[in-house]
Amino acid sequence: MKKALLILALSFTVLLAAVGCNSDNTLKIWVGSESEAFYTEKMVEYVTEYNNTHDEEFPYEVVVSGVDTGTAASTFLDDTEAGADIFTVAHDNLGKLIAGSSSIAPITSAALLAQIDADNPDSFKDVIKGTVDGTTYTFGIPYIAQSLVLYYNTSYITAEQAETWEGILAAAKAANKQALSLTGTDGFNNSFLLLATDATDHSTSLELYTDGVQENCFATGDDTIAKLKWGQSFFLDANGAKKPSESGWEVEISDEKSISVIGGAWHFSAAQAALGENLGITTLPTFTLTEDDAYGTAVAGTVYKSGSFADTKMFVMKKNSERAEYLEDILLFLSSTAVQEESFEAVQNLPAYKNAATEFEAFQEDTLEADLASAQVEMFSWGIPQPFGFSSRFNTYFYSKGAPELILAILENAENAYSTDQDIYDQMVEIQSIWTTGLKLE
């Protein structure tokens, strides 16, 4: 036993020594896995330029690593000391990153703040800011944008039919197919209904955490109820929409069970694999309220354009990084319009730059990638960024507390429990309670 204790004691001594000797001379950058090679190349360019224009060499070895951008924030928070100096996250992760005293640093460089202000749409400028201890700071630098679009099978749906859900439904009935597949049942996937806005003036009564205030949610407006009534008829139609099957949307589309799907840029490859030459891409369609759908002030004949969450991926910086003095200049370069355009050409990252559609040459080409980019850019005017960057819990309340299931229950009229306007209204009151408190009404 004595020996065992001896070995144990020595092991801890060695461990402590090893930990004490830990130091490195690297500046770490995390980007999306698909962009690793591109940004590695860009950082080589940056360091070369730095060395040519400064008296001293760039003091750190730059290591660019590809990560899953969906989990990068959580990975960083698991061990912030080991986390990257610069990393990429979707803007809706901002809340968890700045909770409490924040684990990321605010941007202070006037040049970088000016570039952010000049290059980005206003909707992005709002969601990259956060409040810590009562003061609002800018934390993120947008460089990629993304929104939902419609992928459809051109052998069943014409471009004209794809402009309205009614046209798509008619095409589906003609072929006895399912009109629409969804890629999931979460809150992201029902946004095409909830976020739909009046096609003439973009108006909607729906509120989702307006101004970053948890209580500022409103889901019981006349137009919202009417849209859900329309959605219910769309879902209950034998050829309408259905929630995702256990086979998955890819099978539904490739086996031609269904003829369209709502998805983001990250679904593009799978949609292309499923439909091949028959793949068409366009903005999300419109729908028109019928007499049956009308509710209160939302009258029959009103046309709504399906909405989308229009999000951005942004770079953020680790708080108290030892390399802090170099980070903002790097970000000025990585988020520049020139690098964003190159990024689109190299790895099809949709730029966050607000004038990309008109100024970037790659957008003018006759390719599916250009169609996807154009459709996404157009959807930005019909969408809002996911308003969940403000708090660490908003995401949870919107996505994981059962609210999406309650909305789906309305659309499917589960157990005929949502057959009347009052039933739908009551359910939306319940959903509103979850959004604002995380709890169902007792």
């Binding site: 036993m1 004595k2 020996k3 065992a4 204790l5 001896l6 070995i7 144990l8 004691a9 020595l10 092991s11 801890f12 001594t13 402590l16 930990v19 004490g20 928070l77 061990d79 912030t80 000391e81 968890k96 909770a99 409490g100 005293s101 924040s102 684990s103 605010p106 810590v132 201890d133 003061t135 700071y137 929630k243 099957s245 256990e246 086979s247 998955g248 099978v251 539904e252 086996d255 069970k257 708080k319 108290n320 660490s392 819990r393 949870t396 994981s400 507390k401 059962g402 609210a403 299931e405 309650l406 229950a409 979850i434 709890l439 169902k440």
Partner: protein, 472 residues
């Protein structure tokens, strides 16, 4: 006060008395040894390894001294790891779990690391105390060797002993270290978290969290929040699932083994091989294949639609209209996966039932049915009882089948735990998806209590335990 209370009080006092006597004996032995020891060993009580060095056990003495020096340095200087102090300061931090709330420019105390380092420091103190007594014993043993006219052992001899009469120590040490670092430490850490408010509102390093006593446990039973509403339904399904999964596999496996081992069945080896092949496939591949087979547009639904048995595909799993459809489907898939394993094990057992038992029964005039009822069944049950218990416990914590087949769905609106979630998959969602670490820890502790209680109760009442030497 009745007699029972008096007996309880006496029993408690007796145990209390025994405990303090034991402590007293330790101190007396310590004092006695100190008095009897050489000067070098006496100094070892203050400077570890001094006695060994005095007895020319230089290397051993230096190692003990370095350990003492290292430990004192650690406690005095409290070096920082990830900006969190280790050593004596971590003991204070273990109580406060941090005081600096931080701001936009300054870091927040990392309560999670403070909790971890505090526990590790306590462990290191215990190890140091054990090493301290080991150093004194080592020096005192050298004293005794010298008194008996023997030479104290050299470092080389000590090392050789580790490969000879103390070989078990050399072999067990890595395992012991592994258990301490990878099992005991995380377990104590996890138990500690259950008594804090470490959740998604208190992310480590950004917001301080604190001790909350038994609040999280109280919430389980007072119907508050997710854990209060969903614990009992999830627990009920977990136990029902474990029961159904275990016994359906067990009975199915035995019946299949009996069928294959029947006299007159041709190609026994072929049948066994076919079932072994199903075991050879990794379980998660089988599960994913089964999920695809049973999907809405999978082969089973397509076949049933094509032959006109049903008009619309049936949702068997996550999208099932009723939770019981999903639950029954899971149990059936589990039979497909588990029965071959039980069949294989039971086949081996059946082939090893002592032949003389059957011969004796035959001489006594027993029928085949009686021999089966009174020899085969008891023998198989006797041998497989420990398997049955471990299988039951394994099914309580059977993460793969639920996670891969349904992910816990059908969902229950308003809650994280779905209709087919087991305690273990719920725990996963609470911690990995929702960062509700304190609730996850509570579920983990309660799962342990349930499994440990079930194991102890069933095993200690089984014949395998009571009649260990039967059938020998």
């Amino acid at each position: 006060m009745n007699n029972e209370d008096n007996a309880d009080k006496k029993g408690f006092l007796s145990a209390f008395h025994k405990f303090f006597n034991k402590i007293k004996e330790l101190f007396v032995a310590f004092a006695k040894r100190f008095k009897d020891a050489s000067t070098g060993t006496k100094i070892s009580h203050f400077v570890m390894g001094f006695g060994n060095i005095k007895h020319k056990q230089i290397l051993k003495g230096i190692i003990f001294f370095i350990v003492q020096l290292g430990f004192i340095s650690l406690m005095v200087f409290s070096p920082e790891i990830n900006a969190t102090p280790f050593g004596s300061k971590s003991l204070v931090n273990l109580i406060t779990l941090g005081t600096e709330a931080g701001d936009i420019s300054n870091p927040t105390d990392n309560s999670m690391l403070m909790l971890l380092f505090g526990i590790v420091t306590i462990g290191m103190i215990l190890l140091f105390v054990m090493t301290y007594f080991a150093s004194i014993r080592s020096s005192y043993k050298a004293d005794l060797d010298i008194r008996e006219g023997k030479l104290p052992t050299t470092f080389k001899q000590d090392l050789q002993a580790l490969l000879d009469e103390r070989f078990h120590i050399a072999m067990l040490t890595p395992a012991l270290i592994g258990i301490l670092v990878f099992t005991l430490l995380p377990t104590i850490f996890m138990i500690s978290i259950a008594f804090t408010n470490f959740d998604s509102l208190h992310p480590a390093g950004q917001v301080l969290f604190d001790w909350v006593g038994f609040e999280n446990f109280v919430n389980v039973f007072n119907g508050t929040g997710e854990i209060g509403h969903r614990f009992l339904p999830v627990l009920g399904w977990t136990i029902l699932w474990a029961f159904l999964a275990t016994f359906s596999n067990y009975i199915g496996g035995i019946l299949l083994a009996l069928l294959i081992n029947r006299k007159g069945v041709k190609g026994k080896k072929v049948w066994r091989t076919i079932f072994i092949v199903t075991i050879a496939l990794p379980q998660f591949i089988t599960l994913l294949a089964m999920r695809n087979l049973m999907a809405d547009y999978g082969p089973i639904n397509t076949f049933m639609v094509n032959i006109g048995l049903i008009d619309e595909p049936i949702n068997f799993l996550a999208n099932a209209a009723s939770p019981w459809v999903a639950r029954i489907t899971i149990v059936v898939i589990n039979i497909w996966i588990g029965v071959p394993f039980t069949m294989l094990m039971t086949s081996g057992i059946l082939m090893n039932v002592p032949r003389d038992l059957y011969e004796a029964a035959q001489i006594d005039g027993a029928t085949k049915r009686q021999a089966f009822r009174y020899i085969t069944i008891p023998y198989v049950v006797f041998v497989t009882t420990p398997y049955l218990i471990t299988s039951f416990i394994g099914n309580i914590t059977n993460f793969n089948i639920i996670f891969l087949l349904t992910g816990g769905a059908p969902n229950v609106p308003g809650y994280i735990a779905g209709e087919t979630d087991l305690l273990i998959t719920w725990l996963y969602k609470l911690t990995i998806d929702q960062n509700e670490y304190n609730l996850g820890a509570v579920v983990g502790i309660l799962t342990f209590i349930i499994t440990a209680t079930a194991t102890l109760l069933t095993y200690t009442r089984s014949k395998s335990f009571k009649e260990e030497d039967a059938f020998q």
